[in-house]
Amino acid sequence: MSRDSGRDSGTGIRKSGVCPPEVLARIADLELVARIVVEGLVSGLHRSPFHGYSAEFSQYRHYRPGDDLKYVDWKLVARTDRLYTKQFRETTNMAATLVLDTSASMSFPKAVSKYRYAMILSAALAHIVSSQGDAVGLVAGPRMIPARAGRHNLRALLAALSGVEASGRWNAAETIRRAGERLNRRGLLLVLSDFYDEEDATFNELKRAARMGHEVVLFQMMSREEVEFPYKRDFEFADLETGRSVSVNAGLARREYTDAVAAFLERCRRRAGAEGFQYSLIVTDTPPAHGLRNFLLARQR
């Protein structure tokens, strides 16, 4: 069965409400993209996945299906015979920083690149964090947005995201070190990368960030082509970062390649698990909401 089945022919959005990545990739406005992703996502979640230290009562509003029942003011129900939910304004007590891999290897594949997908995912994450009133920041190549709360900061972050292109090489260890040091207090470090570069140095720096008290979350971005290597003919594969090339019969090399990639992914997953990092493998042909939902559900457990 085709992956496009169940998709509305006019908008490209699936009937389930999940928007496919190729549709999202065509939307230039990252804020809109983030909202589309999050709207299809948060409605099913009952609790905020990001826990702050305190919350201050703000107002009542009518109960809506899906609202957590613990926020229903039962005394008011008894007095008015109507269901009201208490709304709180959470004080900023958590800072999250998004770290994006901007190396050239992230610009693959052409249709929906890993970098574009990471941008969408980052925007959605920033939107979620920011909507909770927490601070969110960004480190993507030369651009750095400090972690702050508020809609204004979110817009600045999304604008910075839009202005960065994936090219050249990426010093992963240095970037992660800078991001960790920028978080003043214990915070959340969200790293989106394919982790091809300097694997040991990268994980050493992540461990160091964890020792600083930060919670580390890894999103390993992979395309389906990298995972399954669906090519059959002879190709001259050119490395996007180094320009080096090898001539390979893809059909013959496929088994060896997929075994090596599977071993690499398993190694990353185990190293992350060993260090207590939350690890998510994101394949770019799946809707961003799916990966994000799985990640948020995992955090709630």
């Binding site: 992956r3 290897s105 992230m106 693959f108 594949p109 052409k110 249709a111 929906v112 890993k114 394919d194 091809y196 395309s223 389906r224 082509e225 990298e226 399954e228 669906p230 090519y231 059959k232 003919r233 002879d234 190709f235 001259e236 594969f237 050119a238 490395d239 996007l240 970062e241 180094t242 080096r244 090339s245 090898v246 001539s247 390979v248 019969n249 059909g251 013959l252 090399a253 060896e256 390649y257 090596a260 990639v261 690499f264 042909d285």
Partner: protein
């Protein structure tokens, strides 16, 4: 299945073309940007690639196109039982007509050709060649004519292939007369004033046809005069009509040389010339050019060792000539009157053969062979009767009259015609180029279908190549 042009199978070597194309094309790999090469090993894979063909289905289709085209060129012919029965049901007939053809020849032929000729022997090879080029059918050679003796011989029919049937049909009457070349007689010496141009009027002679008639020739009616010579040669032609034999003599351009060389003393030469003239006047026949004789007339002035170098007889015609001379009655009668024979004892032993004996019991003349010619040594005096008789016997033995029985007008016996006749054989393997319609059209249709399939597969591959590799990934 029969292949009409099996040599075309050499074209299968063309299969190497698609294979080479696939190998060479695959060497040109498409460049594809990829995130990381850390999981790809060039060395091993590149070496493997050189030995691996891709697009095996496309290669198989192209090879099949070549094979089908070559098979079509090879001319397949599927011989079914029905096809073979259809071929055997029809007859291709070549009719050689000597005289008047019959109105209708049964059974009717699928294809026929008539060769009208006065000489059946000449037309048979042409008829056989035409039959060889005929389409598949039972092939028959029909010879129509009076079928006189000699008009068709076993040698003429030996060249007919075994599969070709032979049939004879008599038509018309035997010819009224038949002429053959009778041969040549040695020149007659006549008075030049008596010479005139040949008139060619035949003269009939009563009696049975045969060598007897020729041996007793009729009077010569015409003569030819050789330019610059007083000698006259005569060419004889014999015509037999029923039991009547006519002989027509015509002059020849040059006199034939006397076939016997005479070795004698100078004193005896005039006598010997007279004897030769006497022999010429006897109208003896000219022998073949390779049959020569030598007569040595021994006397005291001739050394026998120098001129009589006789050896053993090794050729049959020399043996026949010696036997013929030895049977000459006139010669024996003249030899019986000779008192003394050859005194040299060498001529009484082998290899010399005595021809006639003198009254003293010694041979008067002996014969032997010398360098493929007949040698006769005579001890008789040149002026005696033995010498001209010996010369005549030698000339008759070397040549002899032609066999005029060949000129007889008789039909070939029915038993002989039945022995020569045979039915046409069934068609087993038709001639390669003679089949009207073979089965190569089916293979050409297959070639077209395969070409269409090849085009479709090639376009599908091209579309797949140009499509995004993301689609490939999803399919995978």
């Amino acid at each position: 299945m029969i292949w009409l042009n099996p040599a075309a199978w050499i074209g299968l070597l063309a299969i190497a073309g698609p294979i080479l194309i696939h190998i060479l094309v695959q060497r040109k790999a498409e460049r594809l940007a990829f995130p990381s090469l850390r999981f790809l090993q060039q060395g091993r894979l590149a070496s493997i690639r050189r030995h691996v063909l891709e697009d095996v289905p496309l290669l198989a289709i192209r090879a099949a196109i070549v094979v089908a085209a070559v098979a079509a060129l090879a001319g397949p012919l599927i011989v079914t039982r029905t096809q073979r029965q259809a071929w055997n049901a029809r007859v291709v007939r070549a009719t050689v007509v000597d005289g008047v053809a019959p109105a209708a020849i049964q059974p009717p032929a699928f294809l026929s050709q008539t060769f009208e000729t006065p000489a059946v022997a000449d037309a048979i090879p042409r008829a056989v060649a035409w039959l060889e080029n005929a389409p598949p059918a039972r092939r028959e050679l029909l010879i129509v004519g009076p079928l006189a003796l000699g008009s068709v011989t076993a040698d003429d029919l030996a060249g007919v292939p075994p599969g070709v049937g032979i049939r004879f049909e008599r038509s018309g009457g035997l010819p009224a007369e038949r002429s053959i070349a009778g041969g040549r007689v040695l020149a007659l010496e006549r008075d030049p004033s008596a010479l005139r141009e040949p008139q060619g009027r035949p003269e009939d002679t009563k009696g049975a046809a045969g060598s007897g008639s020729a041996r007793a020739p009729s009077r010569a009616e015409g003569f030819g005069r050789a330019p610059g010579s007083e000698s006259i040669v005569v060419q004889q032609q014999v015509t037999l009509k029923d039991v009547h034999t006519s002989v027509r003599e015509t002059g020849a351009a040059a006199p034939d040389p006397f076939p016997v060389d005479v070795v004698c003393s100078t004193d005896a030469r005039p006598i010997v010339d007279t004897a030769i003239a006497a022999v010429r006047s006897q109208r003896v026949w000219t022998p073949a050019a390779n049959r020569r004789g030598r007569l040595v007339l021994l006397d005291s002035s001739i050394d026998p060792a120098a001129v009589a170098d006789g050896g053993p007889v090794t050729q049959s015609w020399i043996a026949d000539a010696i036997a013929s001379i030895a049977r000459d009655r006139d010669l024996h009668a003249a030899g019986a009157q000779t008192v003394a024979g050859l005194s040299d004892p060498r001529f009484s032993t082998m290899p010399w053969q005595p021809l006639l004996l003198a009254t003293d019991g010694r041979p008067v003349a002996v014969a032997g062979a010398s360098r493929a010619s007949l040698v006769v040594v005579s001890g008789a005096t040149p002026s005696g009767l033995v010498t001209p008789l010996l010369l005549r016997a030698m000339v008759n033995a070397l040549g002899g009259p032609p066999d005029l029985r060949q000129a007889e007008v008789l039909p070939i016996p029915e038993s002989q015609l039945r022995a020569w006749s045979r039915p046409p054989a069934s068609v087993i393997a038709p001639p390669i180029d003679r089949v009207e319609r073979d089965d190569r059209r089916w293979l050409w249709i297959l070639v077209l279908a395969l070409l269409a399939l090849e085009t479709w597969v090639r376009r599908a591959n091209a579309e797949e190549k140009t499509s995004t590799y993301e689609e490939d990934a999803r399919v995978a």
